[in-house]
Each structure stands twice: as structure tokens, then as C-alpha cells.
């Protein structure tokens, strides 16, 4: 259970509370109250069913500070469609416990500099060299906006205990 599910459950409880107050504290006919019960029940059921289609797609939240890069997918900008381009990354957070690290998909705005860095990282991944990524936010000197900057390093060898 993560904070996302807790938030949704809280919203459902609010909906149930509102329905309860409507049923006990209004003078509406029981036909309307019955319809409200059925409507809220259907809504809760369909929201649970609709949760699945939302899962799996990349998120736009901040990247972890240090991560193990698994996959890269780039949508370059398109002058014809005026698409600005997007970079998708699939990675595991280095803060997660080993063995429990589940890869998560992220998306960040496209920049040529990031694309070049990811090309280099991709070449190393193809040579079976795991890549450790580090993210930091830097201010663009021209636009003044904070942008994502990534650095990639070959993953260090694991330390084995002495015999």
C-alpha cells in the first residue's frame, strides 16, 4: 500500500460519509436516495476497475537522485506536429532494497544534451555495462528554468566479503 492508495481510500471514505449524511439528514424521497446509493456504488466499483488502465505508463514526477538505468526510449521533437519531444527512462531506485527494486518508468522533457548523454549510456548498456545514473536539477542560463541534468557512470563492482 502506498500513499496513492491511501489517498484514494480517503476520498472513498469521504464519498461514503457524504452519502450517509444525505441518507439520514435530507428529506429527499427514498427513490432518489436509492438512486444515490446505486450511483455511488457503481462509481466506486468502476473506479476500482478503471485503476488498472492507469498503471504502467511513465510518470512525470522527479527522478530518484541515484538510479540503475535499465531502458531508454526517446521521442524526438517533430517540427511538423510541433511535438516538443519526450525522453522516457526505465530504472530502479538505488535507495530501494536489493531484491525488492521494481523498475519504474519516468518521462522528462527532451533536450539535445540529454539525448546525447543517453546515447552514450545506451551504447554501454548494449555492451552489458550497467549504468548508474545521477540526477540533479540545474538552472538553464538562458531560460532561467530548472531542468533535469543526468550523469551516467559505469556501475561499480560489488564488494565481496573477504575469505
Amino acid at each position: 500500500m502506498n500513499w496513492g492508495m491511501i489517498g484514494i481510500i480517503f476520498a472513498y471514505l469521504m464519498l461514503a460519509l457524504l452519502l450517509f449524511v444525505l441518507l439520514t439528514r435530507t428529506r429527499w424521497s427514498w427513490t432518489i436516495k436509492g438512486l444515490a446509493i446505486v450511483g455511488v456504488g457503481l462509481l466506486m466499483y468502476s473506479t476500482v476497475v478503471s485503476y488498472s488502465p492507469l498503471i504502467g505508463w511513465p510518470t512525470g514526477i522527479k527522478l530518484p537522485k541515484r538510479f540503475n538505468l535499465i531502458g531508454i526510449h526517446v521521442d524526438e521533437p517533430n517540427k511538423n506536429t510541433q511535438a516538443k519531444g519526450t525522453i522516457y527512462l526505465w530504472l530502479t531506485d538505488m535507495e530501494q532494497q536489493i531484491g525488492k527494486n521494481i523498475p519504474r518508468a519516468y518521462k522528462i522533457p527532451y533536450t539535445p544534451a540529454l539525448h546525447n548523454k543517453l546515447n552514450e549510456a545506451s551504447k554501454k548498456l548494449r555492451k552489458n555495462l550497467p549504468q548508474l545514473g545521477e540526477m540533479e536539477l540545474v538552472r538553464n542560463a538562458v531560460t532561467g528554468r530548472l531542468e533535469v541534468d543526468l550523469q551516467f557512470f559505469d556501475m561499480p563492482d560489488p564488494l565481496f566479503p573477504e575469505k
Binding site: 464519498l15 428529506r27 488498472s52 492507469l54 514526477i61 526505465w90
Partner: protein, 191 residues
């Protein structure tokens, strides 16, 4: 707009309608109505901030029937912790117009792991991979030749994933417009 987002918007509208009905038609005191209004507004904010933590994680839904494989990640079973293992795929749906990759999670299976490993090896050699996910009845060959009682359940409903080298993209058509010659009269660069 996906069905999931539409349903969530509907939830917001129902919540607002219920609150309006209560405020107008109920016998509650104004203090109670004000508290309900504040609590409902808090619910909106909580819902809004609750969805980002859910996004990005792999989905347990079935893989698309045909997909372009981008990456594979395998967690093998662990006898010590009792973890059953999982195989994660990051793919684009070939039947969809969108090129946004989606992550999927499948239960670990040694055969699936072997196929995924081969597909990953080909990806590393820059050979794009197309996957096909087929759900159907498969004969369990381990039960062939055994007495009738032991053969029960020999046909299992199995979900199989197979990978193929992607067909090379067709070259551009010769009838496509050629770029205009440059000002110095030099031949235009090839498309």
C-alpha cells in the same frame, strides 16, 4: 482520455453534486455544512496528489498482442526470502498510434526468462524485437504417455510470449518530393 481518467473526473463531479445537494436540502447546521465543505475540498486535494505515486509502476494487465520490446528486467525467484520472482517488460503497443512505452509485470517462468534473455541479447546487438503474446491452451508435454488419471490437467491455459526480429523498415518511396536545389546550384543532399 482513457476510461480511467474519465471515471475519476466523474467521481469529482458526483462528490460535488452530493455536497451541493447536502448544503441546499439537508437539515444540518451551517457549521456542519461548512465542515463538510472543507472536508470535501481536502478530499479533492488528496485525490489530486494521490495519483502521481501510482504512475510509472508496472501493470499486471495482459501484454498487447503485438508489441515492440524496449527493455527487459528479471527478478529471479529467491528460495531464502520466498520471493516467486517476476519478469518485467517495457514495450510499445504495435496496434496503438501512440509511441509511449508501458511497463508490464509477469510471473516468473523459466521458459519466459530464457526467451526474454535471448530477446535482450538481440536488442543489445541492435536487432529490434517484436513480441507476440498469445493466450491459449497448450499441451503439457511432461504429462504425455502417462495413465489417464495422471494426465488430468494436461491441457493448461497458458499465456505465452514469443519474440521475433522486427521486419526492417521499408525504404522511402521514390515518388516522394525531392528537396529543391541549393542556391549555389549544387545538387541537393540525398533524403
Amino acid at each position: 482520455m482513457t476510461l480511467g481518467i474519465a471515471q475519476l473526473i466523474a467521481a469529482y463531479v458526483v462528490l460535488a453534486a452530493l455536497l451541493a445537494g447536502l448544503n441546499i436540502f439537508s437539515t444540518l447546521s451551517w457549521l456542519a455544512k461548512a465542515l463538510l465543505l472543507i472536508a470535501t475540498s481536502a478530499a479533492y486535494l488528496v485525490l489530486y496528489f494521490s495519483f502521481p505515486p501510482l504512475l510509472g509502476w508496472p501493470s499486471g494487465e495482459d501484454l498487447p498482442k503485438r508489441f515492440g520490446l524496449i527493455a527487459v528486467y528479471v527478478q529471479e525467484p529467491d528460495r531464502i526470502t520466498g520471493a516467486k520472482g517476476s519478469v518485467f517488460f517495457w514495450v510499445t503497443d504495435k496496434s496503438s498510434s501512440t509511441n509511449v512505452p508501458r511497463a508490464y509485470l509477469l510471473d516468473y517462468d523459466p521458459e519466459l526468462h530464457a526467451r526474454a534473455r535471448e530477446a535482450r541479447a538481440k536488442l543489445q546487438k541492435n536487432v529490434p524485437q517484436v513480441g507476440e503474446a498469445v493466450s491459449g491452451d497448450e499441451l503439457d508435454l511432461a504429462k504425455m504417455g502417462k495413465p489417464g488419471e495422471e494426465r488430468q490437467g494436461a491441457k493448461s491455459h497458458k499465456y505465452t510470449v514469443k519474440f521475433f526480429d522486427a521486419a526492417p523498415e521499408a525504404p522511402p518511396s521514390k515518388t516522394a518530393e525531392m528537396p529543391a536545389p541549393t542556391d549555389d546550384g549544387a545538387a541537393p543532399p540525398p533524403p
